[in-house]
Amino acid sequence: MRFGVIVLPGSNCDVDCYHVVKEVLKEPVDYVWHQEDNLDRYDCIMIPGGFSYGDYLRVGAIAKFSPAVRAVEEFAARGKPVLGICNGFQILLEMGLLPGAMLHNESLEFRCEFVHLRVENNQTPFTKKYRKGQVIRVPIAHGEGNYYADEDTLARLEEGRQVVFRYSDPEGRLSPDSNPNGSVHHIAGICNEAGNILGMMPHPERCAEEILGSTDGRLVFESLRSWWEENGGVAGG
């Protein structure tokens, strides 16, 4: 299963995504330079975290014009999985591939810490190895992760089971203290209607190895491989 990690000017977590696929999942992976517009050889595209183009205008606002990011639209239309993490999620929102927008954290501060997530939908290519309702420990690191969408959009998201992860406490309860940025409905990650595009603010690539304090994020990548195998892919290829 060949992964492509898009490298935009200002991408920071490209190295971490690359590392987790290559060294933990042990699948082939390439960096995809932002000028590249052909993604045909990949089975999954990751848009990593960072501050693309400095994010001086609005998070993700400039990145959406880069050739590689534009090519993601067509890639996703063919049903292939796209995973946007942190800045990658923000870019997917700017592109309109996922609904809603990001506001500054309620605290108005950048926040880096481990949080708990409740898995809301385990029927996606990214979460099929989790249990529904499972609570996992994953770090966040962002200044603008306060997810917002209007009531109609939220209703559609909830109805379509597009909310994939929610911030919760260790017991899976949605207490106010367990929402680190003020996101509506405690939303930490959502997918499109087809389920093959996932955007999430927390960083699963940062918690896929014992040495990093949690391996809870690893199942995102293992789910992807398992989904791909079930859909005719051959592992290690």
Partner: protein, 761 residues
Amino acid sequence: MNPSGRGGKKMGVWQVVNPRWEEVGLTEEEYKRIMEILGREPNDLELGMYGLMWSEHCSYKHSKLHLRLFPTEGECVLQGPGENAGVVDIGDGMAVAFRLESHNHPSAIEPYQGAATGIGGIVRDILTMGARPIALLDSLRFGKLDDERTRYLFGGVVSGISGYGNCLGLPTVGGEVYFDDCYRGNPLVNVMCIGLMEKGRIVKGRASGVGNAVMVVGAKTGRDGIHGASLLASREFDEKSEEMRPAVQVGDPFMEKLLVESCLELVETDWVVGVNDLGAAGLTSACSETAGRAGSGMEVDVALVPRREEGMTPYEVMLSESQERMLVIIKKGKEKEVEKTFSKWGLDSAVIGRVTGDGMLTILENGRQVASVPAASLSHQAPVYNRERRRPAYLDQITRLSVEDLPVPREAGEVLRRLLASPNLGSREWIWRQYDYMVRTNTVVYPGADAAVLRVKGTGKGLAVTTDGNSRYCYLDPRTGGAIAVAEAARNVVCTGAKPLAITNCLNFGNPERPEVLWQFREVIEGMSTAARALGTPVTGGNVSFYNETFGTAIYPTPVVGMLGLLKDISRRVTPGFKEVGDVIILLGETREELGGTEYLKVVHGIVGGRPPEMDLNLEVRVQKVCLEAMERGWVKSAHDVSDGGLAVALAECCFWAEPGAAGCEVTLETGIRPDAVLFGESQSRVILTVKEDDLSSLLAMARSMEVAAGVLGRVVDGRLSVGLVTTGGTGKKSTRRVLMDEPTQELYKIWRNALPEKMK
């Protein structure tokens, strides 16, 4: 600039105009020396260049002689002082570049940009060596947080570090912060960066090879930061300081990120001869230093430098401190390839001149010569001063402290609560959760522990890094304080299981032209040098920041030590938190009746005085050896250095960082000294270890064989911090156990965790 030269200008009446040299921050003597070198009067541009390069900030003219005391050689040292950063060998063909630098005065005037550009500068220093920057640490000092301006400065500096470091994708993994009135007008912002590289790929800041190209890469040059080094960094603060705001540069972390990636691509090639940061003193510094180090000359045309603004004079181009730029010396004929590398990242690059063999730094503007001076006279022949040093009179008064006159507080638990609520001892999480300390997925031990630990991917090794420096000790006894700074930094690194390798440092002091300040400076260096020798940790470089004064009052002498340690096997790393109920708690080292200079004395008795704790370097070396050997044998489950706040605070921290279900301890102290000195005294060379019952006797035997005192304090329990006292009289007779404190861990934790947020509300 006064173009008419010295003296007065006639405007109806005689008006006093500053002499030429004062305009650029030099003395008359120094001006005469420039005339001797040139054999003529310097023109304005030349004088401006000397003003910058001979400023204390660039030339170290007051510190150079004393810095020579530092031990700089050691087995692991690949590059000592003199380059942009020190480099040490960590085996497996890998090397680490690291350096600590100050950005104090800019941060005092514009906290966000001052701190941000401080990071930009130190990151480029690491980059110039050819290393990939992998982590940052910050050592900060501010006034007391009840002052509104201090809160503004503190908040601004933390956001500046967060804004720049996070965007750059560099984890900020550690550091320290202290609050004291002496920093009210002059906060300190010291930043450390460490970088990783292949051992054989060290790049130097040298311009050699006649005909090779001199290129500027990265951001365009503007009018910002002119005179930052000479006027801002090399003067004290007074009522005019606010006017210096335009001398603070503005940072662009995105540009820096592109610069990092493109320069790292460049150093992979064989085209690079030398690289230098364009930081303080801009092109003047980078050109004269690279030529000066190589013994060559250089000819550059300012008209070729990409500009951000129109109509800049040669003076402005040569002195600009615009950020995110580098000077690279490239093999002749490879200029086009270099341009391609940078344009791939959307960056400017331009050939601005050539390396010459005449030893002169010649500046042209559209081919017309506008300055020509010996390159090395700017960079390496600045005057060196050995000014008068005098022991300050305050020391006689302040070190006198009769402990007998101090009442022993009745409620030790109440004292512990007050100490944990002190911004100097409370949790720093409010700060570091604003930093992305995890990006690059190397951070294995997070901020808050004695030292941060980073994995070196692909090797099984780990790097332990910390910064340290207790300025109150240095104020009371600079020599002892200097030694403690080094010893404690080493101890912190040892507590993670790493062997201390080498140090970098930043020396923050007042005005060195005052004999008392220079005496403190010299004493601190003597103390640091002795400790560095004893511990086998050579000094690979650093930075001096003088003139940290406001209206004539200097800060405490504040050396900050940045220590690098190596874990051969990262799976053997140790953290400070208790691990399991029933584990035995051991104290290595000796507790003496030492209350001088402690946080307890300040917080509870309102006294800054006495003598700092004694520093017995032989004992220190032995304690660290016992720790490391015990860790290597796998006996140690947790380790924590006993420092500010003493044993009680250290035990509380072990509880706060404990694994779930092991957040408490039941301890009995057997001693003949005052209970407050036992609980809150800051005797050095002490470490709290926990071991399994089964390993206890082996550990005690090993400590005995190395002549290190090791006492069993008690056991790990859950939920409570309980300390009892058994007094031993002169006859060896023991009293019954008296409970000194018995506090719920959760309550203490809340106080400790809220110490900073409470003040920053």
